[in-house]
């Protein structure tokens, strides 16, 4: 099941929208890049995760198994 939120570090350019949309799971480091929890996103937060994936301007986020 694709339930882990991962970032492509090469694509990511620190827009930071993911952390704004999904603060339960993503925080930004001192330089504005996302630090993402590595465990599976629980079912009740999947909607937030998918939204974070959709809005990333760099298309750097995805859900992965």
């Amino acid at each position: 099941m694709k339930d882990r939120l991962v970032v492509d570090p090469i694509k990511c350019t620190a827009h930071g929208m993911c952390a704004e949309l999904f603060p339960e799971w993503i925080e930004l480091d001192d330089w504005g890049y996302p630090v993402i929890r590595s465990e599976p996103v629980p079912a009740h937060l999947r909607g937030h995760a998918m939204q974070a994936v959709r809005v990333c301007p760099a298309m750097a986020l995805r859900l992965s198994s």
Binding site: P9, I10, D30, G32, Y33
Partner: protein, 417 residues
Amino acid sequence: MSSRRVLAGLVPGRPMPLSHHLTVHGELPDLGLLGPGRLLADIEDSGLRGRGGAAFPTAIKAAAVAGRRRPLIVVNGSEGEPMSAKDRVLLSRAPHLVIDGAIAAAAATGAREATIVAPAPALMHVAAAVEERRAAGRLSVKLRLEESAHGYITGEESALIAHLEGRPALPRVKPPLPVERGLRGRPTLVQNVETMAQLALIARHGPAWFREEGTSDHPGTTLVTISGAVQRPGVYEVALGTPLRALASMAGGSVEPIRALLVGGYFGAWVDGDGGRLTLDDGALRRIGAGIGAGVVVALGESACPVAETARLAAWMSDESAGQCGPCIFGLEALAGLLGRFAAGRTEPGDVDRLGRWTSLVRGRSACHHPDGVARMISSAARVFGRELADHARRGPCRGCRVAPTLRTPERLVRAA
């Protein structure tokens, strides 16, 4: 303590000729006759681990490639580690052993083609050895020779493959791993030059012989490049599991009391004093947060300043970032700046906490392990040089800060991108 296997029979000042190579090591057995399965099993039983830095079991990578269509072999002699010389020593002095390794790796995996990648001066010797073999009718695989790219990270597997494909030598995000999708999209086994030389000996003498040296978890011998405050810096072959303390004596003894050893390479770790009873094998070193890396051991003398050395190293490693991933670009730059403040005695409130926080923050968040290695090196410096760091923060530069650097930080010839 010194046991010569891959360095056996070297001729002073020139490559070992084919005839001499055969006298010293004997013929490579007919691997076609042996069958790929048998050689793969031998590699697994030997417990051979990669000698390029990660000490990853060679059998796992080889088996991953052997199960796939039209695999390729890449012999990695990039050796971007400034304090390492073992790969170019092997390539320029025992090129036939490395070629044998490539042939063995091809036989074990069903590959028909191998590429040897190295800096031009070493590659020249390999080219001469290949010609010698062609003339003698002793070349069973298609061998390509390619010049490596300049830069610390260009030997990372995916960067190396990008370079071979004519693109900038930059790491990419994994998966897919090169064993799945490597050079020209084909499954590719990338192994370090020394790993190949060891493989050439396993193909000849078998796994039981290989395990006569080393530890059960990390068998065999390994090449170490010993430098710094020792009488005779150079490349030595030692059994894995050799006490670190014995290495300086092997290199003629130390020229002054040793403050610390940098073990592994620039992505490695500082170890206190002469290493004491700690042994040179990946398991033992990992238990203290270090690793065998590329077999680099630099002895830092008491007259040097470990804070200045670490700060210069961090700055250089930050510069050597491929510049692709934010945590690496900005994290390493920030860490280098922070260590520079320690070295200059210009720390700001909170800098001690920042050191700990940033080294954990940059780990595991980039396409390759470059920042992880730098973080490891810096964490080890914080552990081993706590006293010196505090002294610098309080009093500024010390006498050792003016001593010529022990760690070489070569100027970057060509930017990776």
